[in-house]
Structures are given as structure tokens and as C-alpha cells.
């Protein structure tokens, strides 16, 4: 993300500093990147409902990992760091404002590509996921797509495990209703904003 416009450090200088910190590509990063990219992009696509936007945040997260790879490579789970950054980017309220505007412009042109790449079943699933409250959608994706245990999700989101289970239950139930109502994708997909009844 950008520093505020009034920050003394200019964007150009910041970018240069990042380049100075960037490691060589052959110190394990490339393998890590190749192995982790697809799963993260798939998870973020399921969450955001837009493959291009998902790839954007995943690439941004991997770029940051590359820039700090010497440090991040020493973490117990480097992919957890990247996942955290990508999800932060995806869930950032400010970004959501921009994303929604982008998606409205992008919806028609991208739909055909997404269908071709993911297949109609996945598109229907992603469209249904987008109708869940954000928290329900997030835990469904983290648990079933990103394959994170409930305890890890609870720790990651700083909520009780029971809350995660409750959100999973509600998300599954709602999803079953959405996918069971009609074989075709919902006619008016759209992300549900935070603040609804998400208990």
C-alpha cells in the first residue's frame, strides 16, 4: 500500500529502497512462489468473487514477500505470512471501495474468461459465496479452500473457535440454500458488506 501523499519518503524512493532489499530469485523464493501461488489465488478468488482482483492481491502479497524474503524465509510458515498479507489486502475496507467500483466495470468482460477457466460449477460456487456475509465467506474459504484448521482460523481472526464453527455452520447452510435453489448462478451476485447479521 502507498504511504500518504504527504509522507516525506517519495514513492519513487520507496520503490528504490524495496529493490535494494530484494533478494536474488534463486534462494528458494521461486520454488515457494510456484508452489503456493495457485492455491492462494484460488482461495482469494473464492473470497473476492473476481479472479483478476484476486490475482492482483496475491501478486502484491508475493511481491512483498520477495522484497522481505531474507526475513520471511526464516519464518516457520512463510506461506502463512503471504496469506495474511493477501487477506489483509483483500479485506481492507478502503480497498473494497475501490474493488467494488472496479468490479462493476469489469463484470461483463471478465465473466466469459472466468467461466472458461474455472468451469460453470466453480463459477456458480463463487457467485453463491459472494452472497454470504463477509465473515462467513472468509471462514468457509479459509477452511475448505485454503485448508486451514478451525483453531488456526480462530487464532488468525482473533475470535473464539466457537465463533468460527458458528460462522462455518451458517455459511454452509446458506450456501446449501443458494446452490440448491437453482442450478444456474444467482442472477444478482454481489458481496455482502460487513455489519449484517453474521453471528
Amino acid at each position: 500500500m502507498e504511504p500518504p501523499a504527504s509522507a516525506p519518503r517519495t514513492r519513487e524512493r520507496a520503490a528504490a529502497m524495496e529493490m535494494d532489499d530484494a533478494p536474488a530469485v534463486d534462494d528458494g523464493y521461486a520454488e515457494f512462489y510456484q508452489a503456493s501461488y495457485g492455491r492462494l489465488a484460488a482461495a482469494l478468488t473464492a473470497y473476492l468473487g473476481d479472479a483478476a482482483e484476486a490475482e492482483d492481491v496475491v501478486q502484491e502479497a508475493f511481491l512483498r514477500a520477495w522484497q522481505g524474503w531474507r526475513r520471511i524465509a526464516g519464518y516457520e510458515e512463510p506461506v502463512a505470512w503471504v496469506r495474511r498479507v493477501a487477506w489483509n489486502l483483500a479485506t481492507n475496507r478502503w480497498r473494497r471501495l475501490i474493488t467494488e467500483a472496479r468490479m462493476r466495470l469489469r463484470m461483463r468482460s471478465n465473466q466469459a474468461d472466468v467461466v472458461a477457466a474455472l468451469g460453470p460449477d466453480s463459477v456458480a460456487l463463487v457467485a453463491a459465496l459472494r452472497q454470504l456475509p463477509a465473515r462467513h465467506r472468509q471462514v468457509i474459504v479459509l477452511h475448505y479452500v485454503a485448508d486451514l484448521p478451525v483453531a488456526d482460523i480462530a487464532a488468525d481472526l482473533s475470535v473464539p473457535r466457537g465463533t468460527v464453527l458458528s460462522w462455518l455452520h451458517r455459511g454452509r447452510t446458506r450456501l446449501a440454500g443458494l446452490l440448491g435453489e437453482d442450478e444456474s448462478p444467482p442472477s444478482r451476485p454481489g458481496p455482502t458488506t460487513e455489519g449484517g447479521d453474521e453471528s
Partner: protein, 365 residues
């Protein structure tokens, strides 16, 4: 047609198929192109952010202040609103044999606050799915819950039972994956929805209906023994939870979340990224403190305390605890998750009122 309670798990094959197939669709661009792509994105984002900021500022100066606030900035504090808990409103007078109540969780930041009470068979892990089944009574506002299934009479009110599917001999039919459930949903009054749900316990229909029909109004409360006297003014009390299985093993917790996430951060480091997720604050009381041993010895209003700072390696968020001995025989802990100023945590601890121990009488019953 009796609705199959396992319907919710019918979505798992679709999710798992997506998990297996979708990653192959995405081809990572060359590593060397990431940096160039990042620069393009940053330029684009900066332009859009500037435009969006103008819009926000035009719409409402007040809203702009809220949106532009960021964790770590000096924040004015205020007296925290009273935290007196949440009314139970309804309680069962009969519970299937062998089940013990192990948790009560209130979610308060919704239009209609909810309360979830959990019973398990062994009492040790109220959240277990694979190994420990659980029975939950959920209290919601009138708009919650899907009211469909087999119509049943619950103390004179229309309810719906959704049962686990039965085989020819009455045996339970194996479902996909873990987590078999049945439920009863009804409205005991015009403003309240109650959902009684069984996960993995495979309780018979008769027990589910008997427990639902035993529910009566209850003036009791999930009362908070902790009252924050000072809190940064953008923190919102979200959860109030009591978990345990006996008077020797329990934990009461209040969880606050920051209302607004930040707009911008520094460039590309974990500390800045963590700020995007906002701040979390937890107030705990229970026989076992959530902090590790050790830390720096401090005093809080003359009481012995310790400040423990740690970092989650897998999740780059700072965690700091202030553990205070109030002389109750059980520690009280203030936990900050995210880039908290330790002085703010100490200030919260200094202004914390401890009203004694919570009600332990229902634990494990």
C-alpha cells in the same frame, strides 16, 4: 418431505472440488515481472485512492475522519460504555442426560445481539467437531434462521424440526464428512428466534423436541465481571464469552475490535501489513492467564503485574499481555493484538474494574 439435516454438508463436494481444481487454473507470472507489476499497481492505486479520498471528504467530514484514522495514531480515549452482559432470556429446564453446559457466548455488535450456549458430553472441549459432539441453543433476533422443515408444536408455538436422515432400520445414514446435525427452530415470542442444534451427538428426535419444549423464560444474565473504565474510542465490544467445565477450569473473556481499518500503511513490511487488520483487545479473567510465564514486572495501581510481549511467527501480529493480580486468586489479563502502544494497554489495565468472579454455578451442569 422431511428436510435432511445434512443438507448443509451437501456443499462440501463442490467446495472440495474447487479446492482441488481451481489452483491449477492460475499460472503465476514470472517472478521478475512481479516488481514491475507492483509498480504499475501502486501508481494506479495511488490515483484511485486520491480520487476516492476526495469523494469521501466531500460526502462527510465526520466520516472522513473515521475512515482516515489509523491504528498507531494517537487516539483520544473515552470512558468505555457499561458492560453489564446480556440477558439469557430463555433457558431449557431439561437437557439430555450426559450433557454439560460448557460455554455461553454473546455477540453484541449486531443489530440483534445473539447468545449461543453449548453443551457437550465430556465438557473438556466445547468446540470439538470431529471428536466431541455438541448441542447448542442459539438466541437470535426475529430475522435470523431459516424457518422450514417438519412443522412441530413447541409449547404452543409453531416450530420446525430438521432431523438427521434415517436408514431402513432406523439407523443413522453416514453423511459426507464430519458433522451430522439436527435442529429445532421456533419463535418463543414475536421478537426472538431460538435454534436448538445438535452436531455429531445424534440425539433422537424425541430428545430434541423435549428439550425445546422445556425452554422457559429466564431472567438470568451472562454478566460481565469486568468493566473497562477507559478505552480508545474506536474500539467496539463485540464478544462476551464464558467457557469452562468446572469451578477450577474456566475463562471469561471480553473481545473488542477496532471499528475502522486503516487506509494506508508503510511499504511492504509485516508491521505495516498487520496494521491493516486493525486492533483487537481482549480482557480475560480465569485461573490460567493466556500469557506465557515471565515478562517484565510492573505495577498497576500498586498491584503486582507483568507485561508480556510476544510475536506470532506464523501470523505477523504483535501480541502483548498485561497480567494483573487483583488478589482474587485468579489473574486478570489485558491482551492487545496488533500494533498496540503498551502504554495504552497499561492505561486500560489501570482503569479496569473487577467486580469479582463471574457466575460459575452453571458450569458443567
Amino acid at each position: 418431505v422431511t428436510r435432511q439435516a445434512d443438507e448443509e454438508f451437501a456443499v462440501l463436494p463442490a467446495l472440495l472440488a474447487y479446492r482441488e481444481a481451481a489452483p491449477r487454473v492460475f499460472t503465476p507470472p514470472p517472478v521478475t515481472s512481479l516488481e514491475a507489476a507492483g509498480r504499475r499497481r501502486r501508481r494506479s492505486r495511488a490515483a484511485m485512492a486520491t480520487a476516492a479520498a476526495v469523494i469521501v471528504l466531500t460526502v462527510s467530514a465526520g466520516a472522513a475522519v473515521a475512515v482516515l484514522s489509523r491504528p498507531g495514531d494517537p487516539r483520544p480515549g473515552e470512558t468505555a460504555p457499561a458492560t453489564d452482559g446480556m440477558g439469557l432470556r430463555y433457558s431449557p429446564t431439561w437437557v439430555p442426560p450426559g450433557l454439560r453446559e460448557v460455554s455461553r457466548t454473546a455477540t453484541l455488535d449486531l443489530a440483534h445481539p445473539t447468545l449461543v450456549r453449548t453443551w457437550t458430553t465430556d465438557g473438556r472441549d466445547p468446540y470439538g467437531v470431529a471428536n466431541n459432539g455438541r448441542l447448542q441453543l442459539n438466541l437470535h433476533g426475529k430475522d435470523a434462521g431459516r424457518r422450514s422443515g417438519e412443522p412441530v408444536d413447541i409449547s404452543g408455538r409453531l416450530g420446525f424440526y430438521n432431523g438427521a436422515p434415517q436408514g431402513r432400520g432406523g439407523e443413522a445414514v453416514p453423511a459426507f464428512g464430519p458433522g451430522r446435525s439436527s435442529s429445532v427452530v421456533w419463535m418463543p415470542d414475536d421478537e426472538t428466534v431460538l435454534v436448538l442444534s445438535d452436531t455429531d451427538l445424534r440425539l433422537p428426535r424425541e430428545d430434541m423436541l423435549r428439550m425445546a419444549r422445556s425452554v422457559r423464560p429466564d431472567p438470568g444474565r451472562l454478566a460481565s465481571p469486568l468493566q473497562a473504565g477507559w478505552m480508545p474510542d474506536d474500539m467496539v465490544l463485540t464478544y462476551l464469552e464464558m467457557v469452562g467445565d468446572s469451578s477450577a477450569s474456566w475463562q471469561f473473556q471480553l473481545t473488542y475490535y477496532q471499528r475502522i481499518s486503516s487506509v494506508g500503511t508503510g511499504v511492504g513490511d509485516a508491521d505495516s501489513d498487520a496494521k491493516l487488520n486493525g486492533l483487537t483487545l481482549q480482557l480475560w479473567i480465569g485461573p490460567t492467564a493466556p500469557a506465557r510465564t515471565g515478562g517484565a514486572a510492573i505495577t498497576v495501581n500498586g498491584r503486582p503485574a507483568r507485561l508480556v510481549s510476544q510475536r506470532r511467527v506464523a501470523h505477523p501480529r504483535d501480541v502483548a499481555h498485561v497480567v494483573i493480580d487483583f488478589g482474587l486468586g485468579t489473574p486478570v489479563t489485558v491482551t492487545g493484538i496488533g500494533p498496540w502502544d503498551h502504554a495504552d494497554l497499561v492505561r486500560i489495565a489501570e482503569n479496569l474494574e473487577v467486580r469479582g468472579l463471574p457466575d460459575l454455578s452453571w458450569l458443567g451442569r
